[in-house]
């Protein structure tokens, strides 16, 4: 189950809409071991593509170093699909490298509604989980 504050959920959706039709990506950091997303970090999609994303490697280094300094970890890793459903693709599954994170997928394929779903991806297995939006 993913529990996410409403303002962080809204920031993810806004980022996805802003970057459409390119895929948007980023993470929510939270205190290590807490499973609480607290800090929104939008990342540059170094691929700038409508079908692929990759965190810029230099940015990723600085963000990961910063999280370590703050005793945080990536609680949520998010990205958007711009023409397909908000479900992890084969590529998403094969590159999922943070077994402790919630993988949030957003789809901006419909201009009037945004799909927002969360998954665990561990050892190549995808499990969808409910999302609770906290006020």
């Amino acid at each position: 189950m993913l529990t996410i504050p409403r303002d962080l959920r809204d920031k993810i959706v806004a980022h996805a809409r802003r970057d459409h039709p390119d895929e948007a990506c980023g993470l929510l950091a939270g205190p290590a071991g807490s499973d609480r997303p607290e800090r929104f970090i939008a990342m540059t999609n170094a691929e700038r593509s409508p079908t692929f994303y990759r965190f810029d490697s230099g940015e990723q280094f600085r963000v990961w170093r910063d999280m370590e300094d703050r005793d945080e970890e990536p609680v949520v890793i998010y990205h958007s699909h711009t023409a397909t459903e908000a479900y992890p693709s084969r590529t998403d599954i094969s590159y999922a490298s943070e077994p402790g994170a919630h993988y949030v997928l957003v789809s901006t394929r419909d201009a009037d509604a945004t799909e927002f779903r969360s998954f665990r991806i561990v050892d190549g297995t995808v499990t969808e989980e409910p999302v609770t939006v906290a006020e």
């Binding site: 895929e23 990506c25 993470l27 990342m43 691929e47 593509s49 409508p50 079908t51 692929f52 994303y53 990759r54 965190f55 490697s57 230099g58 990723q60 280094f61 990961w64 890793i77 990205h79 699909h81 711009t82 023409a83 397909t84 992890p88 693709s89 084969r90 590529t91 998403d92 590159y95 999922a96 490298s97 943070e98 077994p99 402790g100």
Partner: protein, 92 residues
């Protein structure tokens, strides 16, 4: 000569859970080979026939080694090597 190597969560199964290990060598490639002697299988996760694996980021201190000399990047005592799997994916 001691090179400090930071290991990401997903590779700690090779290091008995350690997030930091030490290696020796005068290039990055030599350090990975050295680590593989103590932590068998680790090198294979970092290197393939073409050199550094495409979706693994390796940094020497603050720099991505792809902008240095890849596996041939010289390392010296006191350097820190950080390994971070790329965060990537897509609709396809």
């Amino acid at each position: 000569m001691a090179i400090d190597v930071r290991i990401p969560t997903i590779l700690r199964t090779y290091t008995d859970g350690a997030k930091q290990v030490e290696g020796t060598g005068s290039t990055l490639g030599e350090v990975f080979t050295d680590l593989d002697r103590k932590h068998g299988g680790l090198r294979d996760r970092l290197v393939d026939d073409g050199g550094l694996r495409r979706f693994v980021n390796v940094y020497l201190n603050d720099e991505d080694v792809r902008f240095l000399a890849g596996l041939d990047t010289p390392v010296k005592d006191g350097d820190t090597v950080t390994v971070l799997p790329a965060v990537a994916g897509g609709a396809a």
